[in-house]
């Protein structure tokens, strides 16, 4: 496309953004001349440029808007909501036409005559009504030359059309046509022509001073230039390269004794560092760039739903990398709309609650700990924990038991689950049940987190934490199977080193799944070499060497990543992976290390997913398993029967599923088909050897002690019983059980710490079903 037009489009869209923003501000401060001038200028430059480029329809519309604005600016008209809305609509239409120009090269077929006509009517009607009381002093004649000018500027055929419209308007037909068609008549009707001239003169002077002001602004504009983002990206790459070359140079310098060479390389070092910082700055943009659109968004919403909302912003100048700014734009818009639509109550309700009828929406941004915090808070009704729980259960996102156990804060965070929406009715604003989950996904994608806090009756605050930049991040560099990998520092919580002696005892196995007790909590371990399919044997690590565990956080859960070596933390430049590698979720990108070699950056959520640690926290687990087998991630008090399985594995089942504990001598075991049974109270009791099912371990008892009686837990359901053969019954305890590690093994719910020891929790029903698939069915039928 023509460069000139391209530039016009970019400039005009910026002008329009300012136009929108200023208009909304103007509604609250109708007397603000600066704002009016700025609005006028915005639309004036659009009009001027499109006249020059030959977009007549667009020019006509812009001109009509400009006319109305000039009335406002000159104090002939008072700002009203109607004028505001019409002008905003004008802005939207201009935007639409600009879009057409961008796509097709011309300004489209629509002329928006109706809108133009409304713009005219607004300016005419007001000046007409105002002219009545004080005819003499009123600078009323001004519309006529304006109109004349307007007509002169429009093409003849359009003029005719327009004339017809003007004629069709009652107020104007009485006054307008005569005035427009005949300026002399107009001035003749004026009792004091001299005054009119005076007014014009004053206006002209004002124009001059304004022009001077414009020039002043122009100077500010001259100090900035537009630069294509690809140029900046390229610069960034080159600087990255320079930094690498610098590192190599410094290494080389260390081997040299020439003092002059040292001085030069030091100098070079400083320049490179400074250059890197400056180039980083070129990519930073203030968050205000996206916030500036929100007053308009809020205004439209407020008008649409009949609420009153003030918007307050703090920390507009907080700077973020351009790519991040773009990534949070949509989520932020969604949150703002949500706050207005759901958060803030209607004025009547607010008055009843003793609050200011106008709600307050606060946007706040600030730096903290190398991250940017953004808060969106409203002073509305707050979230209703009960309602959210109920809805989540209804939607099958969690089961009732879990919902009841959930803390208020956890309940609030349910709103981020896919398919959740509490809006009673679907409005055109929100309530379709998509949204908050998308918000969370988008923010997590750029390495951020979202959290919600709410106080009933006082309001809701959504807090977003995002990294400053995606281009350069602090990362921990680790080695695994001879290769280096970078782990983004945001995901890192701590590092644990187990000395060679401790390693063996420190890492416990739950069905082949290694876990480590980190301050009493079970930490599932993932061996990086295994997760990536690299050569390195697990035994070798645990037995001979010390073990390095990198504790990582995904959502609210932690896991430990076992690596061969922990090297260092470094600021790394993130480079995206090419198409051929895009599908590999385990890597977030790559970076070039100090020695010039490439290292892959691990994607922590992707890695967790790969290692079968569910990605979405416990809520999703529940959603999958639904209400069946009521497993929960929460803590709850339970009475457990503890026993040992094969190889001293500690297992537990809820005491509620135990009917009796029995001992049977070995010789009482009889066989029925392939199954072991005993006669028990006149019935045949099928036996299940727990270790065999769960561990897939060896059958039959220890040959060393053939005479020891079998310890059997009798489990009864629907009148049928089954005997679970265990090695050794230990204890009955009442404990707070927190299922920390889920297992894929048959009949096992997961692992928990009971009496300070890792214990597997069994799910008896599924255990029985795995051996006798028809057990419960038969029971039901019998």
């Amino acid at each position: 496309m023509d460069e000139l037009i391209q530039e016009f489009l970019v400039e005009s869209s910026e002008n329009l953004d300012r136009f929108d923003g200023d208009l909304v501000k103007l509604e609250n401060a109708p007397e603000n001349q600066d704002l009016l001038s700025s609005i006028f200028r915005s639309i004036h430059s659009i009009k001027g440029a499109c006249g020059f480029l030959g977009f007549q329809k667009l020019e006509k519309l812009a001109h009509a808007g400009e006319n109305l604005l000039s009335k406002l600016r000159d104090g002939e008209l008072q700002m009203t909501a109607e004028i505001g809305s019409t002008l905003l609509e004008t802005g939207d239409r201009i935007r639409q036409m600009l879009g057409n120009i961008g796509n097709t090269g011309n300004d489209g077929d629509e002329e928006f005559l109706d809108l133009i006509h409304r713009l005219h009517r607004l300016q005419e009607r007001r000046s007409a009504s105002k002219s009545e009381p004080s005819l003499g002093a009123d600078p009323e004649p001004q519309p006529s030359p304006e109109m004349a000018k307007f007509e002169a500027e429009t093409s003849p055929d359009n003029k005719n059309k327009l004339q017809t419209i003007v004629d069709a308007v009652p107020e104007q037909s009485s006054k307008g046509p005569s005035a427009t068609a005949n300026p002399e008549a107009q001035s003749a009707s004026d009792p004091e022509p001299a005054r009119v001239a005076e007014v014009h003169e004053a206006a002209a002077q004002e124009d001059i001073s304004r022009a001077a002001e414009d020039r002043g602004k122009g100077n500010a504009a001259d100090s900035t230039i537009r630069v294509n983002v690809t140029v900046l990206d390229r610069l960034m790459t080159l600087v990255g390269e320079l930094v690498l070359a610098r590192n190599q140079l410094l290494q080389f310098a260390n081997t040299q004794t020439d003092a002059a060479f040292h001085a030069v390389s030091q100098h070079m070092n400083l320049i490179a560092t400074e250059l890197q910082e400056e180039v980083m700055k070129t990519r930073m943009q203030p968050i205000g760039n996206i916030w500036s659109k929100f007053p308009r968004t809020v205004r439209d919403l407020v008008v649409a739903c009949g609420k009153e909302v003030h918007i307050e912003m703090e920390g507009k100048d907080t700077e973020l990398d351009k790519t991040i700014i773009e990534a949070i734009k949509d989520p932020m818009t969604h949150l703002v709309r949500n706050a207005v639509d759901h958060g803030i109550e209607f004025p009547a309700a607010r008055r009843e609650a003793g609050k200011d009828p106008a709600g307050l929406l606060r946007l706040r941004a600030f730096h903290e700990g190398g991250q940017v915090n953004i808060e969106i808070s409203d002073d509305g009704a707050g979230l209703n924990g009960e309602k959210i729980r109920k809805k989540a259960v209804e939607r099958g996102l969690v089961n009732a038991e879990q919902a009841a156990r959930m803390s208020e804060g956890d309940a609030f965070n349910l709103i981020f689950l896919p398919g959740f929406s509490t809006a009673e009715k679907v409005t055109n604003v929100s309530g379709r049940g998509v949204g908050m989950d998308v918000v969370r996904t988008n923010i997590e994608r750029i390495g951020g987190t979202v959290d919600v806090q709410s106080t009933p009756g006082r309001g809701t605050t959504i807090r977003i934490k995002i990294p400053l930049t995606l281009a350069i991040i602090p990362a921990l560099v680790v080695t695994c199977a001879g290769d280096r990998f970078a782990i983004p520092q945001v995901a890192l919580t701590e590092l644990v080193n187990l000395e060679a002696g401790d390693a063996k005892g420190g890492i416990e196995m739950v069905h082949g799944a290694p876990v480590y007790r980190l301050r009493g909590q079970l930490l599932p371990l993932v061996y990086l070499s295994e997760a990536l399919g690299l050569q390195a044997s697990l035994e070798q690590n645990t037995d001979l060497n010390s073990v390095n565990i990198v504790v990582l956080r995904v959502d609210s859960r932690q896991f430990g990543l076992v690596v061969d070596e922990i090297n260092d933390t470094e600021e790394i430049v993130v480079k995206p992976l090419r198409k051929q590698l895009k599908n590999v979720k385990t890597f977030a990108g790559a970076s070039i290390m100090g020695d010039g070699r490439v290292a892959l950056i691990l994607d922590v959520p992707g890695l967790a997913q790969r290692a079968n640690l569910a990605a979405r926290g416990r809520e999703n687990f529940a959603a999958q398993e639904n209400s069946k087998n009521a497993v929960s991630g929460g803590e709850f008090r339970q009475t457990l029967l503890l026993f040992e399985g094969q190889g001293k594995t500690r297992m537990a089942i809820p005491l509620s599923s135990v009917a009796r504990l029995e001992e049977f001598a070995q010789n009482r075991i009889e066989r029925c088909g392939a199954r072991e049974v005993v006669q028990y109270r006149g019935q045949i009791l099928p036996l299940i050897r727990v270790s065999e099912v769960v561990d897939g371990g060896m059958a039959v008892s220890d040959p060393d002690e053939p005479q020891s009686p079998l310890e059997v837990v009798v489990y009864t359901e629907k009148g049928r019983s089954v005997g679970l053969v265990v090695d050794h019954i230990l204890d009955i305890v009442e404990e707070n059980v927190l299922v920390r590690h889920r297992s894929e093994s048959t009949g096992v719910l997961g692992a928990a710490i009971v009496q300070q020891k890792v214990t597997e929790l069994l799910d008896v029903a599924s255990l029985v079903r795995s051996v006798h698939p028809k057990f419960f069915e038969a029971a039901g039928g019998a």
Binding site: L581, S591, V598
Partner: protein, 148 residues
């Protein structure tokens, strides 16, 4: 005068291949590579090309040829693609040849399916055949994990 085209040529397992010079950004000697776990084996790794990270695709593996002996270090033909540069690993680099359009012929029918898919056509040179590689197709490598 018949139309001619220039090819950047290289060798793969004794075969003589060419890529139109317009598609080649540069040719560089062997670079150290960082292997990428969990990807198809045709992707040999990532190289640092003056600060840009470039994926290296082994054409021998892509064309279902035998791996080159461990002692033989591959060379990089860096191809331009819409998605940025990608390196093609080849055995050895040949000259840039200017060949006449008249010498062109479609891919022989009896070539193996895998190879035919990636060979656009053949130029009959005086003493050998020049196979024209379809770079885009050669680079259609899914990054899907092999061990799911």
């Amino acid at each position: 005068m018949s139309r001619t085209q220039q090819f950047c040529t290289f060798f793969l397992d004794g075969h003589f291949f060419g890529v139109p010079v317009q598609q080649v950004q540069e040719v560089i000697r062997y670079q150290e590579m960082t292997r990428v776990p969990l990807v198809p084996e045709v992707i040999r790794g990532l190289i640092n090309l003056r600060g840009q990270i470039v994926t290296a695709v082994d054409l021998r593996r892509r064309l279902k040829m035998q791996d080159r002996p461990a002692s033989a270090l591959p060379m990089n033909v860096v191809a331009r693609t819409d998605d940025g540069p990608v390196s093609l690993l080849v055995d050895e680099i040949g000259d840039v040849l200017e060949v006449s359009e008249e010498a062109y012929e479609r891919t022989p029918e009896n070539m193996s399916i895998e190879q035919k898919e990636m060979v656009e056509g053949v130029y009959k040179l005086e003493n050998r055949l020049l196979l024209v590689l379809n770079v885009n197709r050669a680079l259609q490598v899914d990054g899907e994990p092999q061990l799911a």
